[in-house]
């Protein structure tokens, strides 16, 4: 039994058959809904997330929230009650959801050129349909795509990824739910991959500080890989949308 519960087997394969430095399959689509200004759907392994962006628009509710030099970024994270194995009681409002909402806002505010839209508000809503580990990274990645679909100016892509450490030695990329259960530390990093800046870093459990650098490097590499996947998706989406208006024929 103990053998089955290893994070990394002797021949270097993980529980789901991936190698240590492999991401789960990412599939995504921009513009899934018509009502929001921007929307995106993203699958990372079995984790499935929908994101919607409204704005920039006039600040709703109390005007005192509005800022004279930047846009207010408002995030709400919510999980469908059927998204986890055990049915959840409430879709949002619990501590974990609130925490993820705050972290999302932190990561997205760092990437959006908020100074271009003073006195306005940008709403970002994410809905988790299926939770299978790495919820926060999937939300950040989906939100980035939705922001791009909404045409909101970004400094650059903001991507997030998790990394773990197996056998006290080998860094693992993109931790799944199964691996989260087995245990081991999880380092979550949200970064601006082109400039290599880190906008959010969170770690659970412990490992020696000597290992931090290589795990962090691995997570940053993951962010870069994700960025290229997202970039590909954005380009093909733009091509689809653009060609329907006839731009492709002019080149």
């Amino acid at each position: 039994m103990s053998k089955n519960r290893e994070l990394l087997s002797k021949i270097g394969l993980r529980q789901d058959g991936r190698r240590a430095d492999e991401l789960r399959r990412i599939r995504c689509k921009l513009g899934v809904f018509t009502e929001p200004d921007g929307s995106a759907y993203l699958e990372q392994g079995l984790t499935k997330v929908l994101a919607a962006v409204y704005g920039p628009h006039q600040v709703r509710g109390s005007r005192s929230k509005a800022q004279h030099d930047s846009a207010v970024v408002n995030c709400q994270f919510s999980m469908a009650v059927f998204s986890t194995g055990e049915r959840k009681k409430r879709p949002r409002g619990d501590r974990k959801s609130t925490e993820i909402s705050i972290h999302l806002r932190q990561a997205l505010t760092a990437a959006i050129k908020v100074e271009l839209y003073p006195w306005t508000q940008i709403d970002v809503y994410v809905e988790v349909l299926h939770a299978d580990g790495g919820i926060y990274p999937a939300c950040v990645n989906a939100a980035t795509l939705a922001l791009i679909d909404a045409g909101i100016p970004l400094k650059e892509y903001v991507c997030a990824c998790t990394a773990s450490l197996a056998n006290n030695d080998v860094p693992l990329l993109d931790v799944s739910h199964q691996e989260e259960i087995i245990g081991g530390p999880t380092l979550t990093v949200a970064a601006l991959p082109m400039s290599g800046k880190i906008v959010l870093m969170e770690m659970s459990q412990r490992f020696h500080v000597d290992h931090l650098q290589k795990v962090l490097d691995k997570a940053l590499q993951g962010c870069k890989d994700i960025k290229s996947i997202l970039d590909e998706a954005v380009k093909s989406h733009i091509q689809d949308v653009g060609s329907s208006t006839g731009w492709a024929s002019t080149t």
Partner: protein, 285 residues
Amino acid sequence: MALCEAEKTFVLHGVEENFRVDGREREDYRPIELETNIVSHAFGSARLRLANTDVLVAVKIEVDVPYPERPKEGKLEFFVDCSANATPDFEGRGGEDLAIEISNSLSAAYKSPEVFDLTKLCILKGHKCWKIFVDILLLECGGNLYDAVSIAVKAALWDTRIPLVKSVTVDGNNVDMEVSDELHDCQKLDVTAAPIMVTVCKIGEQCIVDPNVAEELCSVGAVVIAVSKDKFSTVLQIGSGSLHPQTLLECLQMGEKVAQRLSEALTETLSEINPNKNQDVGFLK
């Protein structure tokens, strides 16, 4: 969304002429897309897209103790979640009123034993039963929520597979049950009588079905009719307007006729669904 007087008049005249803004007649529906079995760890699920209205329904099952007053019956519970993705108004607790309204109407529609037989969900009288959670997630609101939700719920229940109980042993107060290990050993629910809801909307002097958002804004009143086979299971008036009894009767007749057609179309569609066909499902399409 806000409409000015001229726009409202335009919609109203369209309904009067039996030629609505999007070219439909008064009794026509917008195109409906339905997919089943798209939430992999639910017991059954369906996603329905009615033009711009998007609904995702997942069914989860748990073992529970029956209510003491109804020991032979299982439980059926509806939960509606209005996602903020649909509109920023639903942020926080903003969607709760609508959610409760819809889930209550569903509970009312499914209440009668002729509509949905809860005794089939009983495992051991007075001790154990299945509790079915029907969780509805509203992802986009493009008008006519009740109809969309009711069709999606029926499809999700059709898709639901309940594990087969092999044996139940009683040892004093302890009840042990053994569920079949075989993954495909399961029973399906009987949903032939599950109700379909039709919203009949009164605009000017005429009644229409499947109103879009603009038409909903023009309506003076609406009636939601839940039809199970050839009988009504619930009638519910929504909105703030008032209706004449004669109009109400006309609405009911129209609603029943349309529900009959809708129900037939749904049964036909569900029978055509091929679970073995491997294709890109869900939101990636």
